[in-house]
Symmetry: C2
Subunit: 166 residues, 2 copies
DNA sequence: GCCGCGTTGTTCCAATGTAGCATCCATGAC
DNA sequence: GTCATGGATGCTACATTGGAACAACGCGGC
């Protein structure tokens, strides 16, 4: 069934179709719809806010509905979870020039990413800085640590808000 | 009133006294006791687990008791909160050779720190790597971002577990 | 058709965190 | 000493976030 989406949303959604096809997993209506809700949001969105919006079209959605769907999207690298906000943003890795490959043995398909969160407009910038990832890997190595998944998030003021804000 | 603490705990506690005296805030019995519980823990500890332990001696403690106390300890840089775990660890900044100064205008007294979390033994290593902090500051700068507080946490396997684990 | 398995529905519950207001108590002014 | 003040704590109730367990559905291959 068809839902109405903006061009950018459609682009990310079609990319998601490609990803899922390549991984042999099913991007169902529910999953596509939740991904669409996340992509359409200007700011990171909490699970229960997504649930509320989902209920506009899917009356019987419940917490497990949204959490299972989010798990799927996370496992397949289509969205990220911001730990500081307990909220979700779409992954825009395909906007990056070269998608960062994972070190072997890392179970999670999501790439290593970093996030800049504007405390004023609430918007988030996803970056994938190899220097940053390397610096963390090196610091971990010095501590004798075998690195798994990493969380790098910073809160601050984005360029637009900085310019606007006097 | 006196509680029984191990030497390491006493050392961190006396350091906390110094910090609070210098900042003109009061390290009350409750706050000292909660800090002691956190320091005594081998692994990061959740708020409700701290609350349970606190109730052994303070029967009428409730969620606000522990959260307000944790807020105080966080505001004064005596503990850290691990976002990935929703749990708390003592700050060991005074163990570092030089305590990292804050960039001016940063409201929070806590220093910039990074954490390595062992998924096997659950222990956490706090590091304060200037190269890592700088790399993030630089990446933020390139994105036109004015940096505030940062969260850098990595999950993995610590050296001890790596050696022990076959 | 029928089975098998992944997906979704449904109910209930666990864990984490906060608002609002009352009470207590340490401190300093008088 | 007394009293006023403001911070610290007690206390009730609630909000938010997340997950367990089991039933029902539905699309594949056979
Ligand atoms: Zn991404
Ligand atoms: Zn902004
Ligand atoms: Zn610290
Ligand atoms: Zn370990």
């Amino acid at each position: 069934m068809g839902f109405e989406f903006a061009p950018r949303t459609l682009s990310l959604l079609s990319h998601a179709e490609t990803i899922c096809a390549g991984r042999g997993v099913r991007l169902t209506d529910l999953r596509r719809q939740v991904l669409g809700l996340i992509v359409q949001s200007e700011a990171p969105t909490g699970a229960y806010e997504l649930l509320d919006r989902l209920r506009a079209t899917r009356h019987n959605a419940a917490p497990p509905t949204i959490y299972r769907t989010l798990d799927f999207l996370l496992e397949n690298g289509l969205v990220h979870r911001l730990e500081r906000l307990a909220a979700f943003v779409p992954c825009i890795a395909h906007d990056h020039p070269r998608e960062q490959a994972h070190e072997p043995g890392c179970e999670n398909p999501g790439h290593a990413a970093q996030f800049l969160i504007c405390r004023r407009c609430k918007r988030v910038v996803e970056i994938a800085d190899p220097a940053l990832a390397d610096a963390l890997a090196e610091a971990a190595g010095r501590a004798g640590f075998t690195l798994g998944q990493t969380t790098i998030e910073a809160e601050g003021i984005c360029a637009a808000c900085d310019a606007a804000g006097k």
